[in-house]
């Protein structure tokens, strides 16, 4: 069975990145969800972000 059909048989558990209202909407419906306190990598400095990603 592919993973999409597997998902159809599981409880949805969401990671939300970005608009917090999408997360609060899920919480209101008692859907399992976690909101990431996301920030632009390296303070939005693209060059620094690309250097950092190479460290991982």
């Amino acid at each position: 069975m592919n993973k999409i059909n597997e998902l159809f048989n599981k409880e949805i558990s969401v990671i939300n990145m970005g608009l917090e209202s999408f997360y609060t909407d899920l919480k209101k419906q008692d859907v399992k969800a976690i909101h990431v306190d996301w920030r632009p990598p390296a303070g939005g400095n693209k060059k620094m972000a690309s250097l950092l990603s190479r460290l991982k």
Binding site: I4, L26, H35
Partner: protein, 521 residues
Amino acid sequence: MKVNYEIRKNTYYDSVTLMLISKEIKKMEGIKEALVGMGTDLNKELATMLNITTDEINDLGANDFFISVLSEEDLNMKEISIKVDELLTKKKNDSPSDYNPPTLDSALKYQADSNVVVISLPGKYAADEVRKSLKSGLHVMLFSDNVSMKEEKELKTLAREKGLLMMGPDCGTAIINNVPLAFANVIKKGKIGIVGASGTGTQEVTVIIDKLGEGVSQVIGTGGRDLKSEIGGIMMLQGIEALLKDPNTEVIVLISKPPADEVAKKVLKAIENSPKPVVVDFIGGDKELIEQYGAYSCATLEDAAYKAVALVKGEEVEDFNGFTLRDDEIDKIVEKEVSKFHSKQKYVRGLYTGGTLADEAMKLLNKDLGELYSNTPLSPKYKLSDINKSIKNTCIDLGDDDFTVGKPHPMIDPTTRVERIIKEAEDDEVALILMDFVLGYGSHEDPVGEMIPSIKKSQKIMMDKGNYLSVVCSICGTDKDPQSLEESQRRLEEIGAIVMPSNAQAVRLASKILKELKGNC
């Protein structure tokens, strides 16, 4: 005029929260213009446009926060700063005070059974997070736009290799296991599975399915570009395969604006020998081609819902091209509206928050009224040279990029439409306003309530000049949505608006009124 500002380094808030706070600050006494935002290039450009920038603001990075206001007199910046904090705290308190990890990896450690990532970050950061999610074996719904076609192709190819969903970019709606994600209505659980490449189009179909007493098994969004040649329908094909295998799906519905020809054929080939009936709405696309592959073609989104429900119930499949009300009831409404206009009044102005609904309206009106002017016209000849000024028959998609630079989508913040309807009412040749109201999760908490004062004001502007403004609308919502469908409809009808059961019916009624009006001239 004086510019006052405050800067907070390394303080991050999401863009929609800040845009809504900017709106509140602008309402404060003595303030002409306000921008509360992160120091992104877009916000810095916006501050320059609004004449509220400074050298310090121009030096900020995307992780720095600023408040800048324009006022006639000196004002106490501290007061504004306190108000912003109050609003930020209020927003924070509205949300549950759970642990918010800083990265995807840490979120995954904290919530190990996570299986779907919903991403609505600024476009330029989104692709990296999608890639990480897919590599971690997680399904993705990507709401963000401004993701390149090349990245979309790469990410969808990766998703296909891993057997995962990659819904988007620019995917507004999905319902997985009965859970509405992003912009979606609360729909009964049922046997109809949908793969949709257009957000509000998909919402409209699901809402009508629900009104007809059926429900959905899964609603998979693909993002609007999935059926373009460059992407080749990767996610729609994945979605079809999953729904064909899904024992809870008995009927499949595919929704998209007209696809590239070779992609349409590829998609239809995938359902050619389907043991489950398939209904296809390539909004205004090639119907014969659809039927050649053994699928049911549709005239409207509403027609798609009617056909899918008939198939589930084992009833005969018929075209639905008319009205829910009886013909004589419709004629009565038309007659009553037409009797109130001044002889100069003759044009329709469609003010839409849903892009696909605007598109459907133009395609239906085109048959009776000829081509309409728009910011997103059916043919380039009818593109408005100034999107803020309607010409003759005009239909506007207020959710298009033209109107949303630095502002939330009108389904979240209806301000652009609140202002636009007044402008339309000042034009003596306007007879009718056509509108959509989209309820459900993601949307504004009361889209109807936000519009009512300005609809009333528009009606009065018209009345004071001896004219009459006809308001015809539809509500894309169910009785289970967080906003009350019943109350929304009641309040619109109370001020004389005509609320039709679907966008297609609202457009058909508008068309009948205008044709009758033309006949009388």
